[in-house]
């Protein structure tokens, strides 16, 4: 020990830290079957809904193929399941996927490696949010492919305002960021209780609180609910315009900041086991 020299350390920049953390999350995402299973589920579900409801003898759920993506108008209160079952379902699948994804971090003990080399907890929140938002955005794409393919096979009506359709799809993809931050936050809170993590993600993902609130205040006044994630997700519909997309961006980014700050605070005060 007589040859001990002074040791210099280099402080990693924010970019280096985030790159390392994102590298881990994307590596895991692409190397686990879970991601591909959920992409497949996102593709199969709209195809099944569209295929089954149009080949049955009764009235079809949708008069138009694109209703599998979004309703014609923002329907915060819905009368039948067809008005609810659209691309917003991706956020429910996404919630379950995020719970499993983050649950594995804690279940495997890998967080010990992560938090030893990454002391800044916002790196974790940010990285998980970005990775999970990416996976949900990918699910939106496979959902679209599944829905359109089924629509083509069943010969359902394809008439649509293309601009509004693109905005609706983009709006929902943008909302993935906000939803991912919510699920990351929930899973950080319930990190020791995997079952509760999944249940809470499912609960919030269904938007049941917003639907309940909309039922009380009525559809006409429900635009106020657009400040919430589910509200904005519903607002991205087949009559959307550029303002709809702007609202989606603002709401999604706003909630992402809130949930990331809260999650960072929770993690900073928590023990890692």
């Amino acid at each position: 020990m007589n040859n001990t020299r002074e040791i210099k350390f280099e402080s990693p920049s924010f970019y280096q830290r985030l790159r390392g953390m994102l590298g881990v999350d994307f590596y895991r995402l692409f190397h686990t079957p879970l991601y591909y299973i959920f992409l497949a589920i996102a593709a199969i579900i709209p195809a099944m809904i569209l295929g089954m409801t149009t080949v049955e003898g009764g009235a079809p759920l949708y008069s138009n193929t694109w209703n599998i993506v979004a309703a014609d108008t923002p329907l915060y209160v819905f009368n039948e399941i067809g008005e609810y079952a659209n691309m917003n379902m991706v956020f429910i699948f996404g919630g379950i996927m995020v719970s499993i994804f983050i649950g594995h971090d804690y279940g495997s003990g890998y967080v010990k490696q992560l938090f030893t080399s990454h002391p800044k907890k916002q790196d974790y929140m940010l990285s998980k949010t970005i990775t999970c938002a990416f996976s949900m955005a990918c699910m939106c794409v496979t959902y679209l492919i599944g829905g359109v393919t089924a629509g083509l096979f069943t010969g359902a009506d394809m008439t649509v305002n293309v601009g509004s359709l693109i905005i609706a799809i983009l709006g929902k993809m943008v909302m993935s960021l906000g939803w991912a931050s919510l699920y990351t936050f929930l899973n950080v809170i319930f990190r020791k209780y995997f079952g509760i993590s999944i249940a809470s993600s499912f609960f919030f993902g269904t938007g049941i609180l917003i639907i309940g609130a909309a039922a009380v205040i009525g559809n006409s006044s429900s635009a106020l609910l657009n400040i919430f994630l589910y509200g904005s997700s519903v607002n991205a519909c087949l009559s959307s315009n550029i303002f709809t997309l702007i609202i989606c961006v603002l709401v999604s980014v706003g909630w992402t900041l809130v949930y990331n700050l809260l999650g960072t605070l929770v993690l900073s005060k928590s023990d890692v086991y």
Partner: protein
């Protein structure tokens, strides 16, 4: 410069005080054996060093910097309890994941070299969940070694290792600290194994450091004794009690120990003079394990 300097460190979980006013100094370049009974606060201290649990009070400095500093934390390799690996991924993928986490430039090359170091290169394609306990420990050590960390924090790394695994571990750790730039903090209940490599020791009890010493100081504190086995052990003991102040019986190994003899020849002479035949005789120094047990039981 010291690798770790801890002052007045405390941690409580609700009403339970896990660590209480702990002081600890780990010199750079040391292999520091961190010893204590179950629940004494070893793992809690190690987790606080790594930033996995926030401290209640006190300070932890690593190479002169606060332990929460991102730049020093990037230079710590850990194996706390069990390796944090994803069971469904292969050994190689788990290692690559850690290399990515550390932002290593030549990740594949480093992973290959580290796996070779712990003799796991042939099992790289195995799924982690299919590995044996000993293999998992080696993978955990390999993960901790990735990126050439300046400080290694290893909590019970010897658990589950076979004789060959322990030998490899000893070689790896002693090689690492040779340059004086690397430091190892290692806790283990396998004290004879620890004694083969540790240069410094810290003994913790009820969350407090009760003794810190170098290997040389331990050696000075561990007396040598003459051990013998005689045909008539009872008679041998009564003869030796007449000449020596400290004669003890090692019940487990069926030896008599004479601590204050000048030489083995002198002991044999006393027994021979009293017609006691000696069948086995050797000198030995008490080990870390016995030293530790004596300390815990309040014996000198």
């Amino acid at each position: 410069m010291d690798a770790i300097v801890i002052r007045n460190l405390s941690k409580s979980f609700g009403q339970k005080q896990a660590v209480s006013g702990l002081n600890m100094t780990v010199p750079a370049g040391a292999i520091y054996g961190f010893i204590g009974e179950n629940g004494s606060g070893k793992s809690t201290t190690e987790k606080m060093i790594c930033g996995l649990i926030p401290k209640s009070e006190g300070s932890i400095r690593i190479f002169g910097n606060d332990h929460t500093d991102a730049k020093v934390r990037a230079g710590i390799g850990v194996l706390i309890e069990a390796p944090g690996c994803f069971p469904g991924l292969t050994v190689w993928n788990n290692m690559m994941l850690q290399a990515t986490n550390l932002g290593l430039e030549n990740a594949e090359e480093q992973v290959r070299a580290t796996l070779k170091l712990v003799r796991m290169e042939g099992s790289a394609s195995n799924k982690y969940k299919n590995c044996s306990l000993g293999m998992k420990q080696r993978i955990g050590i390999a993960m901790a070694l990735l990126g050439d960390p300046k400080l290694l924090v290893l909590d019970e790394p010897l658990n589950g290792l076979d004789a060959d695994g322990m030998r490899i571990m000893r070689e790896v750790l002693t090689d690492i600290v040779k340059d004086g730039e690397h430091t190892v903090l290692i806790s283990s209940h396998l004290l004879p194994e620890l004694q083969k490599i540790a240069t410094h020791y810290g003994i913790i009890r009820h969350g407090r450091m009760i003794r810190e010493m170098t290997a040389e100081e331990l050696s000075e504190d561990c007396p040598t004794f003459v051990a013998l086995r005689a045909a008539d052990m009872r008679r041998a003991r009564s003869v030796l009690n007449l000449h020596y102040a400290r004669v003890e019986e090692d019940i487990e190994r069926e030896y008599l120990r004479v601590y204050d003899a000048e030489s083995p020849e002198e002991v044999v002479k006393h027994l021979y003079d009293n017609s006691v035949t000696v069948s086995e005789l050797f000198t030995e120094r008490i080990g870390l394990e016995e030293y530790y047990i004596n300390l815990m039981e309040g014996r000198k």
